[in-house]
Protein backbone atom coordinates (compact mmCIF):
# COMPACT_ATOMS: atom_id res chain seq x y z
CA UNK A 1 0.00 0.00 0.00
CA UNK A 2 2.74 2.40 0.95
CA UNK A 3 4.56 1.62 -2.29
CA UNK A 4 1.46 2.31 -4.37
CA UNK A 5 0.76 5.62 -2.70
CA UNK A 6 4.35 6.75 -3.16
CA UNK A 7 4.07 5.75 -6.79
CA UNK A 8 0.85 7.71 -7.26
CA UNK A 9 2.44 10.69 -5.61
CA UNK A 10 5.54 10.57 -7.79
CA UNK A 11 3.55 10.43 -11.01
CA UNK A 12 1.49 13.36 -9.76
CA UNK A 13 4.65 15.39 -9.30
CA UNK A 14 5.67 14.66 -12.87
CA UNK A 15 2.29 15.91 -13.99
CA UNK A 16 2.84 19.14 -12.09
CA UNK A 17 6.25 19.66 -13.66
CA UNK A 18 4.70 19.12 -17.06
CA UNK A 19 1.92 21.66 -16.45
CA UNK A 20 4.11 24.44 -17.78
CA UNK A 21 4.28 22.61 -21.09
CA UNK A 22 0.55 22.10 -21.43
CA UNK A 23 -1.15 23.42 -24.49
CA UNK A 24 -4.81 22.78 -23.86
CA UNK A 25 -7.12 23.09 -26.81
CA UNK A 26 -10.38 24.33 -25.34
CA UNK A 27 -12.35 24.64 -28.57
CA UNK A 28 -11.74 21.06 -29.57
CA UNK A 29 -13.28 18.95 -26.79
CA UNK A 30 -14.97 15.75 -27.77
CA UNK A 31 -18.57 15.37 -26.75
CA UNK A 32 -19.96 11.95 -25.94
CA UNK A 33 -23.42 10.72 -26.75
CA UNK A 34 -24.62 7.29 -25.61
CA UNK A 35 -26.58 5.44 -28.24
CA UNK A 36 -27.07 2.14 -26.43
CA UNK A 37 -26.83 0.65 -22.96
CA UNK A 38 -26.35 -2.71 -21.31
CA UNK A 39 -29.35 -4.88 -20.53
CA UNK A 40 -28.89 -5.18 -16.77
CA UNK A 41 -27.51 -1.94 -15.44
CA UNK A 42 -26.48 -1.86 -11.78
CA UNK A 43 -28.37 0.87 -9.90
CA UNK A 44 -25.81 3.04 -8.08
CA UNK A 45 -26.23 6.14 -5.95
CA UNK A 46 -23.36 8.62 -5.87
CA UNK A 47 -24.22 11.01 -3.04
CA UNK A 48 -22.90 14.57 -3.00
CA UNK A 49 -19.60 14.60 -1.13
CA UNK A 50 -19.01 16.55 2.06
CA UNK A 51 -16.63 19.53 2.13
CA UNK A 52 -16.48 22.31 -0.47
CA UNK A 53 -19.80 22.03 -2.40
CA UNK A 54 -18.33 23.39 -5.68
CA UNK A 55 -15.48 20.88 -5.63
CA UNK A 56 -17.92 18.13 -4.69
CA UNK A 57 -20.13 18.96 -7.67
CA UNK A 58 -17.19 18.66 -10.10
CA UNK A 59 -16.04 15.42 -8.54
CA UNK A 60 -19.42 13.70 -8.36
CA UNK A 61 -20.46 14.78 -11.84
CA UNK A 62 -17.27 13.19 -13.24
CA UNK A 63 -17.90 9.96 -11.28
CA UNK A 64 -21.56 9.77 -12.32
CA UNK A 65 -20.76 10.63 -15.93
CA UNK A 66 -18.05 7.99 -16.17
CA UNK A 67 -20.22 5.24 -14.67
CA UNK A 68 -23.29 6.18 -16.67
CA UNK A 69 -21.45 6.37 -20.01
CA UNK A 70 -20.02 2.89 -19.46
CA UNK A 71 -23.57 1.65 -20.02
CA UNK A 72 -23.29 -0.74 -17.07
CA UNK A 73 -24.78 1.47 -14.36
CA UNK A 74 -28.02 3.32 -13.73
CA UNK A 75 -27.67 6.45 -11.59
CA UNK A 76 -30.09 6.70 -8.65
CA UNK A 77 -31.21 10.23 -7.79
CA UNK A 78 -29.50 11.35 -4.59
CA UNK A 79 -31.54 14.55 -4.17
CA UNK A 80 -28.45 16.60 -3.53
CA UNK A 81 -27.77 15.82 0.13
CA UNK A 82 -24.12 15.42 1.07
CA UNK A 83 -23.06 12.24 2.83
CA UNK A 84 -19.47 11.82 3.94
CA UNK A 85 -17.53 8.58 4.17
CA UNK A 86 -17.73 8.91 7.95
CA UNK A 87 -21.54 8.97 8.12
CA UNK A 88 -23.22 5.57 8.52
CA UNK A 89 -25.73 5.43 5.65
CA UNK A 90 -29.41 4.75 6.12
CA UNK A 91 -29.44 1.47 4.18
CA UNK A 92 -33.22 1.01 4.39
CA UNK A 93 -33.73 4.40 2.75
CA UNK A 94 -31.30 3.68 -0.09
CA UNK A 95 -32.86 0.25 -0.57
CA UNK A 96 -36.27 1.85 -1.00
CA UNK A 97 -34.81 4.22 -3.58
CA UNK A 98 -33.65 1.20 -5.56
CA UNK A 99 -29.88 1.52 -5.11
CA UNK A 100 -27.75 -1.62 -5.03
CA UNK A 101 -24.62 0.34 -4.20
CA UNK A 102 -23.91 3.72 -2.64
CA UNK A 103 -20.79 5.88 -2.71
CA UNK A 104 -20.28 8.65 -0.16
CA UNK A 105 -17.26 10.77 0.54
CA UNK A 106 -15.74 14.14 1.20
CA UNK A 107 -13.19 16.62 0.02
CA UNK A 108 -10.95 17.85 2.79
CA UNK A 109 -7.41 18.52 3.81
CA UNK A 110 -4.99 15.71 4.46
CA UNK A 111 -2.83 15.72 7.59
CA UNK A 112 -0.06 17.55 5.72
CA UNK A 113 -2.41 20.22 4.43
CA UNK A 114 -3.17 19.06 0.92
CA UNK A 115 -6.55 18.58 -0.66
CA UNK A 116 -7.77 15.02 -0.54
CA UNK A 117 -10.81 13.26 -1.99
CA UNK A 118 -11.93 10.30 0.12
CA UNK A 119 -14.80 7.97 -0.45
CA UNK A 120 -16.39 4.75 0.70
CA UNK A 121 -18.49 2.34 -1.36
CA UNK A 122 -21.33 0.35 0.24
CA UNK A 123 -23.27 -2.72 -0.79
CA UNK A 124 -26.76 -1.49 0.07
CA UNK A 125 -28.56 -4.84 0.14
CA UNK A 126 -25.93 -6.55 2.29
CA UNK A 127 -25.33 -3.39 4.33
CA UNK A 128 -21.56 -3.82 4.07
CA UNK A 129 -18.57 -1.74 3.02
CA UNK A 130 -17.25 -2.78 -0.41
CA UNK A 131 -14.18 -0.61 -0.34
CA UNK A 132 -12.85 2.90 -0.33
CA UNK A 133 -9.89 5.02 -1.12
CA UNK A 134 -8.36 8.46 -0.81
CA UNK A 135 -6.67 10.47 -3.53
CA UNK A 136 -4.58 13.57 -2.99
CA UNK A 137 -5.79 16.17 -5.47
CA UNK A 138 -6.09 19.88 -6.22
CA UNK A 139 -8.62 22.18 -7.82
CA UNK A 140 -7.06 21.63 -11.26
CA UNK A 141 -6.91 17.88 -10.83
CA UNK A 142 -10.41 17.23 -9.44
CA UNK A 143 -11.55 15.60 -12.67
CA UNK A 144 -8.60 13.20 -12.54
CA UNK A 145 -9.50 12.29 -8.94
CA UNK A 146 -13.09 11.69 -10.09
CA UNK A 147 -11.89 9.30 -12.80
CA UNK A 148 -9.77 7.46 -10.21
CA UNK A 149 -12.74 7.06 -7.89
CA UNK A 150 -14.96 5.92 -10.78
CA UNK A 151 -12.30 3.32 -11.67
CA UNK A 152 -12.38 1.94 -8.11
CA UNK A 153 -16.19 1.81 -8.06
CA UNK A 154 -16.25 0.16 -11.51
CA UNK A 155 -13.76 -2.50 -10.43
CA UNK A 156 -15.53 -3.23 -7.12
CA UNK A 157 -18.90 -3.64 -8.84
CA UNK A 158 -17.90 -5.42 -12.09
CA UNK A 159 -14.76 -7.29 -11.05
CA UNK A 160 -12.66 -5.82 -13.86
CA UNK A 161 -10.50 -2.69 -13.85
CA UNK A 162 -12.01 0.60 -14.97
CA UNK A 163 -10.51 2.68 -17.78
CA UNK A 164 -11.86 6.11 -16.85
CA UNK A 165 -8.42 7.48 -15.99
CA UNK A 166 -6.77 6.22 -19.19
CA UNK A 167 -6.12 8.44 -22.18
CA UNK A 168 -6.91 8.27 -25.87
CA UNK A 169 -5.07 9.66 -28.88
CA UNK A 170 -6.74 10.67 -32.13
CA UNK A 171 -6.14 12.85 -35.16
CA UNK A 172 -8.23 15.91 -36.01
CA UNK A 173 -8.26 17.10 -39.60
CA UNK A 174 -9.13 20.75 -39.07
CA UNK A 175 -8.88 21.48 -42.80
CA UNK A 176 -6.76 20.36 -45.76
CA UNK A 177 -3.83 22.40 -44.39
CA UNK A 178 -4.00 21.56 -40.71
CA UNK A 179 -3.82 18.23 -38.92
CA UNK A 180 -3.54 17.83 -35.15
CA UNK A 181 -2.63 14.85 -33.01
CA UNK A 182 -4.64 15.07 -29.79
CA UNK A 183 -4.33 13.35 -26.43
CA UNK A 184 -7.45 13.43 -24.26
CA UNK A 185 -8.91 11.75 -21.18
CA UNK A 186 -10.97 8.67 -22.01
CA UNK A 187 -14.14 10.80 -21.67
CA UNK A 188 -12.88 13.14 -24.40
CA UNK A 189 -12.15 16.00 -21.98
CA UNK A 190 -8.82 17.75 -21.31
CA UNK A 191 -7.73 17.47 -24.92
CA UNK A 192 -4.12 18.51 -25.52
CA UNK A 193 -2.39 18.86 -28.86
CA UNK A 194 0.80 16.82 -29.22
CA UNK A 195 1.52 17.66 -32.87
CA UNK A 196 0.35 20.24 -35.41
CA UNK A 197 1.17 19.60 -39.06
CA UNK A 198 0.24 20.86 -42.51
CA UNK A 199 0.32 17.27 -43.73
CA UNK A 200 -1.66 14.19 -42.63
CA UNK A 201 -0.87 12.16 -39.53
CA UNK A 202 -2.09 8.55 -39.31
CA UNK A 203 -1.77 5.33 -37.32
CA UNK A 204 -0.91 6.56 -33.81
CA UNK A 205 0.22 3.69 -31.57
CA UNK A 206 0.88 3.95 -27.81
CA UNK A 207 4.07 2.58 -26.32
CA UNK A 208 3.14 0.02 -23.64
CA UNK A 209 4.29 2.43 -20.88
CA UNK A 210 2.04 5.22 -22.21
CA UNK A 211 4.93 7.71 -22.49
CA UNK A 212 5.31 7.72 -26.26
CA UNK A 213 3.22 7.59 -29.40
CA UNK A 214 4.53 6.18 -32.64
CA UNK A 215 2.74 7.47 -35.75
CA UNK A 216 3.07 8.10 -39.46
CA UNK A 217 3.59 11.73 -40.49
CA UNK A 218 3.55 12.99 -44.08
CA UNK A 219 5.31 16.28 -43.21
CA UNK A 220 8.21 15.34 -45.57
CA UNK A 221 5.84 14.61 -48.49
CA UNK A 222 6.16 10.90 -47.79
CA UNK A 223 5.18 8.63 -44.93
CA UNK A 224 7.80 8.53 -42.14
CA UNK A 225 7.40 6.78 -38.75
CA UNK A 226 8.22 8.79 -35.63
CA UNK A 227 8.18 7.98 -31.90
CA UNK A 228 7.05 11.05 -29.96
CA UNK A 229 7.65 11.48 -26.21
CA UNK A 230 4.49 13.17 -25.00
CA UNK A 231 5.83 15.01 -21.95
CA UNK A 232 8.86 16.55 -23.70
CA UNK A 233 7.68 16.70 -27.32
CA UNK A 234 10.95 15.05 -28.33
CA UNK A 235 10.62 13.05 -31.54
CA UNK A 236 12.78 10.18 -32.78
CA UNK A 237 12.66 8.85 -36.35
CA UNK A 238 11.83 5.15 -36.11
CA UNK A 239 11.80 4.54 -39.88
CA UNK A 240 12.67 6.89 -42.72
CA UNK A 241 13.97 4.58 -45.42
CA UNK A 242 13.72 5.18 -49.14
CA UNK A 243 10.09 4.62 -50.09
CA UNK A 244 7.16 4.47 -47.66
CA UNK A 245 7.40 3.88 -43.91
CA UNK A 246 4.14 3.17 -42.11
CA UNK A 247 1.84 1.19 -39.80
CA UNK A 248 3.84 1.23 -36.52
CA UNK A 249 2.89 -1.22 -33.74
CA UNK A 250 4.84 -1.63 -30.47
CA UNK A 251 5.96 -4.97 -29.15
CA UNK A 252 4.45 -5.64 -25.69
CA UNK A 253 7.88 -5.14 -24.04
CA UNK A 254 8.21 -1.71 -25.69
CA UNK A 255 11.60 -2.50 -27.18
CA UNK A 256 10.66 -3.01 -30.80
CA UNK A 257 8.24 -1.56 -33.29
CA UNK A 258 6.73 -3.46 -36.20
CA UNK A 259 6.60 -1.20 -39.27
CA UNK A 260 5.81 -1.53 -42.95
CA UNK A 261 8.61 -0.51 -45.33
CA UNK A 262 8.66 -0.41 -49.13
CA UNK A 263 12.45 -0.08 -49.34
CA UNK A 264 12.83 -3.59 -50.78
CA UNK A 265 9.82 -3.24 -53.09
CA UNK A 266 6.15 -3.76 -52.24
CA UNK A 267 4.95 -3.36 -48.66
CA UNK A 268 6.77 -5.63 -46.22
CA UNK A 269 6.65 -5.93 -42.45
CA UNK A 270 9.89 -5.30 -40.56
CA UNK A 271 10.76 -5.26 -36.87
CA UNK A 272 12.94 -2.30 -35.82
CA UNK A 273 14.29 -1.21 -32.47
CA UNK A 274 12.41 1.75 -31.00
CA UNK A 275 15.44 3.98 -31.72
CA UNK A 276 15.22 3.11 -35.42
CA UNK A 277 18.14 0.68 -35.56
CA UNK A 278 18.28 -3.01 -36.49
CA UNK A 279 15.54 -3.31 -39.14
CA UNK A 280 14.77 -6.98 -39.68
CA UNK A 281 12.38 -8.22 -42.37
CA UNK A 282 9.52 -10.44 -41.16
CA UNK A 283 7.37 -11.14 -44.26
CA UNK A 284 8.64 -12.49 -47.54
CA UNK A 285 5.55 -12.75 -49.77
CA UNK A 286 5.62 -10.47 -52.82
CA UNK A 287 2.02 -9.45 -52.03
CA UNK A 288 0.97 -6.55 -49.80
CA UNK A 289 1.79 -7.13 -46.13
CA UNK A 290 0.66 -4.37 -43.76
CA UNK A 291 -1.12 -3.39 -40.52
CA UNK A 292 1.08 -5.47 -38.18
CA UNK A 293 -0.16 -5.94 -34.60
CA UNK A 294 1.55 -7.94 -31.86
CA UNK A 295 -0.26 -10.62 -29.89
CA UNK A 296 -0.18 -9.66 -26.16
CA UNK A 297 2.33 -12.45 -25.43
CA UNK A 298 4.66 -10.93 -28.04
CA UNK A 299 4.98 -14.24 -29.92
CA UNK A 300 2.98 -13.45 -33.07
CA UNK A 301 2.40 -10.58 -35.44
CA UNK A 302 -1.08 -10.42 -36.97
CA UNK A 303 -1.29 -8.54 -40.25
CA UNK A 304 -3.28 -7.84 -43.43
CA UNK A 305 -2.17 -9.34 -46.74
CA UNK A 306 -3.65 -9.81 -50.22
CA UNK A 307 -1.48 -12.88 -50.89
CA UNK A 308 -4.64 -14.96 -51.34
CA UNK A 309 -6.16 -12.55 -53.86
CA UNK A 310 -8.18 -10.39 -51.46
CA UNK A 311 -7.14 -8.60 -48.28
CA UNK A 312 -7.34 -11.05 -45.36
CA UNK A 313 -5.81 -11.36 -41.90
CA UNK A 314 -2.84 -13.65 -41.27
CA UNK A 315 -0.35 -14.21 -38.48
CA UNK A 316 3.32 -15.12 -38.37
CA UNK A 317 5.67 -15.94 -35.46
CA UNK A 318 8.08 -13.12 -34.58
CA UNK A 319 10.94 -15.38 -35.67
CA UNK A 320 9.36 -15.71 -39.11
CA UNK A 321 8.38 -19.10 -40.49
CA UNK A 322 4.93 -20.41 -41.36
CA UNK A 323 2.16 -17.93 -42.03
CA UNK A 324 -1.33 -18.87 -40.88
CA UNK A 325 -4.49 -17.41 -42.40
CA UNK A 326 -6.92 -16.18 -39.72
CA UNK A 327 -9.91 -14.64 -41.58
CA UNK A 328 -11.91 -16.47 -44.23
CA UNK A 329 -15.45 -15.06 -44.41
CA UNK A 330 -15.89 -12.37 -47.05
CA UNK A 331 -13.56 -10.62 -49.48
CA UNK A 332 -12.20 -7.74 -47.37
CA UNK A 333 -10.97 -8.26 -43.79
CA UNK A 334 -8.41 -5.74 -42.53
CA UNK A 335 -6.96 -3.90 -39.50
CA UNK A 336 -6.49 -6.72 -36.95
CA UNK A 337 -6.15 -5.66 -33.28
CA UNK A 338 -5.95 -8.24 -30.51
CA UNK A 339 -7.82 -7.87 -27.23
CA UNK A 340 -5.60 -7.33 -24.17
CA UNK A 341 -6.23 -10.95 -23.05
CA UNK A 342 -5.31 -12.23 -26.52
CA UNK A 343 -8.53 -14.22 -26.82
CA UNK A 344 -10.31 -12.17 -29.45
CA UNK A 345 -9.47 -9.97 -32.41
CA UNK A 346 -11.22 -6.81 -33.56
CA UNK A 347 -11.04 -6.07 -37.29
CA UNK A 348 -12.90 -4.34 -40.08
CA UNK A 349 -14.90 -6.51 -42.45
CA UNK A 350 -16.68 -5.42 -45.61
CA UNK A 351 -20.26 -6.69 -45.43
CA UNK A 352 -23.11 -5.68 -47.73
CA UNK A 353 -21.04 -2.80 -49.09
CA UNK A 354 -20.22 -1.35 -45.67
CA UNK A 355 -16.99 -1.48 -43.66
CA UNK A 356 -18.03 -2.85 -40.26
CA UNK A 357 -16.37 -3.44 -36.93
CA UNK A 358 -16.24 -7.18 -36.28
CA UNK A 359 -14.84 -9.37 -33.52
CA UNK A 360 -13.47 -12.88 -33.88
CA UNK A 361 -13.18 -15.32 -31.01
CA UNK A 362 -9.75 -16.73 -31.82
CA UNK A 363 -10.35 -20.16 -30.26
CA UNK A 364 -13.57 -20.91 -32.18
CA UNK A 365 -12.91 -18.51 -35.12
CA UNK A 366 -16.52 -17.36 -34.64
CA UNK A 367 -17.11 -13.84 -36.06
CA UNK A 368 -19.60 -11.30 -34.74
CA UNK A 369 -20.30 -8.12 -36.71
CA UNK A 370 -20.84 -5.35 -34.13
CA UNK A 371 -22.09 -2.40 -36.21
CA UNK A 372 -24.18 -1.70 -39.29
CA UNK A 373 -21.91 1.17 -40.35
CA UNK A 374 -20.83 2.25 -43.77
CA UNK A 375 -17.29 3.33 -42.94
CA UNK A 376 -15.72 1.91 -39.76
CA UNK A 377 -11.93 2.17 -39.45
CA UNK A 378 -9.02 1.71 -37.06
CA UNK A 379 -10.37 -0.35 -34.12
CA UNK A 380 -8.59 -0.01 -30.76
CA UNK A 381 -9.38 -1.93 -27.56
CA UNK A 382 -9.77 -0.28 -24.17
CA UNK A 383 -7.03 -1.67 -21.91
CA UNK A 384 -9.63 -3.69 -19.95
CA UNK A 385 -10.92 -5.22 -23.20
CA UNK A 386 -14.51 -4.17 -22.56
CA UNK A 387 -14.95 -1.50 -25.27
CA UNK A 388 -13.55 -1.00 -28.77
CA UNK A 389 -13.04 2.52 -30.07
CA UNK A 390 -13.33 3.03 -33.84
CA UNK A 391 -13.41 5.87 -36.33
CA UNK A 392 -16.60 6.04 -38.33
CA UNK A 393 -18.70 8.59 -40.17
CA UNK A 394 -21.83 10.44 -39.07
CA UNK A 395 -23.47 13.21 -41.07
CA UNK A 396 -20.55 13.27 -43.52
CA UNK A 397 -18.02 13.91 -40.75
CA UNK A 398 -15.47 11.74 -39.06
CA UNK A 399 -16.46 10.79 -35.50
CA UNK A 400 -15.22 8.26 -32.97
CA UNK A 401 -17.50 5.55 -31.67
CA UNK A 402 -16.99 3.25 -28.70
CA UNK A 403 -18.72 -0.11 -28.92
CA UNK A 404 -18.81 -2.77 -26.21
CA UNK A 405 -17.37 -6.13 -27.26
CA UNK A 406 -20.89 -7.62 -27.11
CA UNK A 407 -22.13 -4.81 -29.39
CA UNK A 408 -24.80 -3.68 -26.91
CA UNK A 409 -23.35 -0.42 -25.67
CA UNK A 410 -22.50 2.32 -28.12
CA UNK A 411 -21.11 5.79 -27.49
CA UNK A 412 -20.34 8.44 -30.07
CA UNK A 413 -17.55 10.96 -29.58
CA UNK A 414 -17.65 13.90 -31.94
CA UNK A 415 -15.95 17.23 -32.18
CA UNK A 416 -17.51 20.49 -33.32
CA UNK A 417 -14.54 21.60 -35.43
CA UNK A 418 -13.31 19.15 -38.05
CA UNK A 419 -12.99 15.46 -38.72
CA UNK A 420 -11.92 13.10 -35.94
CA UNK A 421 -10.15 9.91 -36.94
CA UNK A 422 -7.39 7.40 -36.16
CA UNK A 423 -8.18 6.67 -32.49
CA UNK A 424 -5.72 4.81 -30.26
CA UNK A 425 -6.69 3.88 -26.70
CA UNK A 426 -3.76 4.21 -24.31
CA UNK A 427 -2.64 1.70 -21.67
CA UNK A 428 -3.61 1.72 -17.98
CA UNK A 429 -2.08 4.54 -15.96
CA UNK A 430 1.16 3.57 -14.30
Amino acid sequence: MSRILCQIRRIGLLAVCALALLHASARAQLTIEITGAGANRIPVAIAEFGGDPAASRILTSVIRGDLERSGLFKMIDTSGEAITEATPPNFADWKSRGADALAAGSIGLSADGRQEARFRLYDVSRETVLGGSAFVTSKAMLRAAGHRIADVIYEKLTGEPGVFSTRIAYVVRVNAMRYELHIADADGQNSQVALISKEPIISPSWSPDGDRLAYVSFENKKPVVYAHSLASGKRVVVANFKGSNSAPAWSPDGRRVAVVLSKEGGSQIFLVNADGTGAQRLTSSSAINTEPYFSPDGQFVYFTSDRGGSPQIYRVGIGGGDVERISFEGSYNVSPRLSPDGKSMAFISRRDGGFRLSVMDLASRQVQVLTDSYKDESPTFAPNGRMILIATEAGGRGVLSAVSTDGRIKQRLSISAGDVREPAWGPFNK
Binding site: L13, R148, S165
Partner: protein, 174 residues
Protein backbone atom coordinates in the same frame (compact mmCIF):
# COMPACT_ATOMS: atom_id res chain seq x y z
CA UNK B 1 -14.55 -7.52 1.79
CA UNK B 2 -11.85 -4.92 1.89
CA UNK B 3 -11.94 -2.37 4.66
CA UNK B 4 -12.01 1.34 4.03
CA UNK B 5 -8.60 2.86 4.38
CA UNK B 6 -8.61 5.40 7.15
CA UNK B 7 -7.54 8.82 5.85
CA UNK B 8 -5.19 9.41 8.78
CA UNK B 9 -3.32 6.23 7.89
CA UNK B 10 -2.95 7.49 4.32
CA UNK B 11 -1.58 10.79 5.54
CA UNK B 12 0.99 8.86 7.57
CA UNK B 13 1.93 6.75 4.59
CA UNK B 14 2.27 9.80 2.37
CA UNK B 15 4.41 11.46 5.01
CA UNK B 16 6.48 8.29 5.13
CA UNK B 17 7.36 8.59 1.45
CA UNK B 18 7.96 12.33 1.51
CA UNK B 19 11.66 11.61 1.91
CA UNK B 20 11.92 10.41 -1.69
CA UNK B 21 13.95 12.84 -3.81
CA UNK B 22 11.05 13.58 -6.18
CA UNK B 23 8.81 14.59 -3.34
CA UNK B 24 11.43 16.93 -1.92
CA UNK B 25 11.80 18.77 -5.21
CA UNK B 26 8.14 19.65 -5.45
CA UNK B 27 7.97 21.59 -2.21
CA UNK B 28 4.91 21.70 0.03
CA UNK B 29 1.30 21.65 -1.01
CA UNK B 30 1.88 20.47 -4.57
CA UNK B 31 -1.13 18.81 -6.14
CA UNK B 32 -0.15 15.25 -6.78
CA UNK B 33 -3.22 13.54 -8.14
CA UNK B 34 -1.94 10.99 -10.54
CA UNK B 35 -2.72 11.14 -14.22
CA UNK B 36 -0.60 10.76 -17.30
CA UNK B 37 2.16 13.27 -17.91
CA UNK B 38 1.41 16.51 -19.72
CA UNK B 39 1.67 16.90 -23.44
CA UNK B 40 4.01 19.35 -25.16
CA UNK B 41 2.86 20.66 -28.54
CA UNK B 42 5.18 20.30 -31.53
CA UNK B 43 4.64 22.10 -34.86
CA UNK B 44 6.22 20.53 -37.92
CA UNK B 45 8.34 22.57 -40.34
CA UNK B 46 7.42 23.16 -43.99
CA UNK B 47 9.30 22.30 -47.14
CA UNK B 48 10.75 25.10 -49.31
CA UNK B 49 10.26 24.74 -53.03
CA UNK B 50 12.83 25.80 -55.61
CA UNK B 51 12.52 27.01 -59.18
CA UNK B 52 12.16 24.36 -61.87
CA UNK B 53 13.37 24.66 -65.47
CA UNK B 54 10.57 26.07 -67.69
CA UNK B 55 10.17 22.86 -69.71
CA UNK B 56 8.80 21.13 -66.62
CA UNK B 57 6.18 23.79 -65.98
CA UNK B 58 5.27 25.10 -69.47
CA UNK B 59 1.63 24.02 -69.98
CA UNK B 60 2.36 23.32 -73.67
CA UNK B 61 5.09 20.83 -72.77
CA UNK B 62 4.06 17.25 -72.00
CA UNK B 63 6.52 17.35 -69.05
CA UNK B 64 4.17 19.76 -67.23
CA UNK B 65 1.73 16.83 -66.95
CA UNK B 66 2.58 14.78 -63.92
CA UNK B 67 -0.39 12.52 -63.17
CA UNK B 68 -0.99 8.92 -64.20
CA UNK B 69 -4.53 7.67 -63.52
CA UNK B 70 -5.44 4.07 -62.74
CA UNK B 71 -8.56 1.93 -62.99
CA UNK B 72 -10.36 0.68 -59.89
CA UNK B 73 -8.39 -2.03 -58.06
CA UNK B 74 -5.76 -1.83 -60.82
CA UNK B 75 -2.06 -1.08 -60.70
CA UNK B 76 -0.98 -1.19 -64.35
CA UNK B 77 0.10 1.98 -66.16
CA UNK B 78 -2.53 2.27 -68.91
CA UNK B 79 -1.47 2.61 -72.58
CA UNK B 80 -2.67 6.22 -72.74
CA UNK B 81 -0.01 7.25 -70.16
CA UNK B 82 2.97 5.48 -71.77
CA UNK B 83 4.04 8.59 -73.77
CA UNK B 84 3.86 10.75 -70.66
CA UNK B 85 5.96 8.38 -68.58
CA UNK B 86 8.40 7.92 -71.49
CA UNK B 87 8.85 11.72 -71.79
CA UNK B 88 9.73 11.99 -68.10
CA UNK B 89 12.08 9.00 -68.39
CA UNK B 90 13.83 10.82 -71.26
CA UNK B 91 14.12 14.03 -69.22
CA UNK B 92 15.58 12.14 -66.28
CA UNK B 93 18.01 10.32 -68.57
CA UNK B 94 19.22 13.63 -70.03
CA UNK B 95 19.27 15.42 -66.68
CA UNK B 96 20.93 13.07 -64.23
CA UNK B 97 21.08 15.78 -61.56
CA UNK B 98 17.28 15.61 -61.25
CA UNK B 99 15.53 13.32 -58.84
CA UNK B 100 11.87 12.35 -58.88
CA UNK B 101 9.43 11.47 -56.11
CA UNK B 102 6.51 9.37 -57.32
CA UNK B 103 3.52 9.62 -54.99
CA UNK B 104 0.84 6.92 -55.30
CA UNK B 105 -2.74 7.69 -54.26
CA UNK B 106 -5.99 5.77 -53.78
CA UNK B 107 -9.64 6.54 -53.31
CA UNK B 108 -10.82 6.71 -49.74
CA UNK B 109 -12.74 3.47 -49.37
CA UNK B 110 -11.32 0.98 -46.89
CA UNK B 111 -8.43 0.86 -44.44
CA UNK B 112 -5.97 3.79 -44.49
CA UNK B 113 -2.90 1.59 -44.12
CA UNK B 114 -4.11 -0.95 -46.68
CA UNK B 115 -4.77 1.93 -49.07
CA UNK B 116 -1.26 3.21 -48.37
CA UNK B 117 0.03 -0.18 -49.57
CA UNK B 118 -2.24 -0.03 -52.66
CA UNK B 119 -0.94 3.49 -53.46
CA UNK B 120 2.59 2.10 -53.16
CA UNK B 121 1.78 -0.44 -55.90
CA UNK B 122 0.76 2.42 -58.23
CA UNK B 123 3.89 4.45 -57.44
CA UNK B 124 6.04 1.31 -57.90
CA UNK B 125 4.43 0.64 -61.32
CA UNK B 126 5.33 4.14 -62.58
CA UNK B 127 8.81 3.85 -61.09
CA UNK B 128 9.41 0.49 -62.80
CA UNK B 129 8.42 1.92 -66.17
CA UNK B 130 10.67 4.99 -65.72
CA UNK B 131 13.58 2.71 -64.81
CA UNK B 132 12.95 0.45 -67.80
CA UNK B 133 13.08 3.52 -70.03
CA UNK B 134 16.44 4.66 -68.74
CA UNK B 135 15.98 6.62 -65.51
CA UNK B 136 18.41 5.50 -62.81
CA UNK B 137 17.41 3.90 -59.54
CA UNK B 138 19.14 6.69 -57.55
CA UNK B 139 16.99 9.29 -59.33
CA UNK B 140 13.72 7.64 -58.32
CA UNK B 141 11.79 7.23 -55.10
CA UNK B 142 8.32 5.68 -55.05
CA UNK B 143 6.17 6.47 -52.02
CA UNK B 144 2.49 6.36 -51.15
CA UNK B 145 0.11 8.94 -49.76
CA UNK B 146 -2.67 6.33 -49.69
CA UNK B 147 -6.06 8.00 -49.33
CA UNK B 148 -4.67 10.90 -47.28
CA UNK B 149 -4.31 13.59 -49.96
CA UNK B 150 -7.38 13.34 -52.21
CA UNK B 151 -7.34 15.62 -55.25
CA UNK B 152 -11.12 15.52 -55.23
CA UNK B 153 -12.89 15.16 -51.88
CA UNK B 154 -16.21 14.12 -53.42
CA UNK B 155 -17.86 10.83 -52.52
CA UNK B 156 -18.73 9.58 -55.98
CA UNK B 157 -17.14 7.53 -58.77
CA UNK B 158 -15.85 10.61 -60.63
CA UNK B 159 -14.06 11.87 -57.51
CA UNK B 160 -12.67 8.43 -56.68
CA UNK B 161 -11.34 8.05 -60.25
CA UNK B 162 -9.40 11.32 -59.87
CA UNK B 163 -7.84 10.01 -56.66
CA UNK B 164 -6.63 6.70 -58.14
CA UNK B 165 -3.45 8.31 -59.30
CA UNK B 166 0.33 8.55 -59.16
CA UNK B 167 1.98 11.99 -59.30
CA UNK B 168 5.53 12.65 -60.47
CA UNK B 169 7.35 15.40 -58.54
CA UNK B 170 10.84 16.73 -59.27
CA UNK B 171 13.24 17.82 -56.57
CA UNK B 172 12.23 21.32 -55.61
CA UNK B 173 8.59 20.23 -55.63
CA UNK B 174 8.80 17.95 -52.61
Amino acid sequence: MKQLVIPAAIALLLAACSSTPDADKAGGGAPVESRGPGVATVTTGGVDSQRLPPELTDPNNILSKRSVYFDYDNFEVKAEYRDLVASHAKFLTQNRQFRMLIQGNTDQRGSREYNLALGQKRADAVKRMLALLGAQEEQLEAVSLGEEKPKNEGQNEAAWAENRRADMLYNGEF
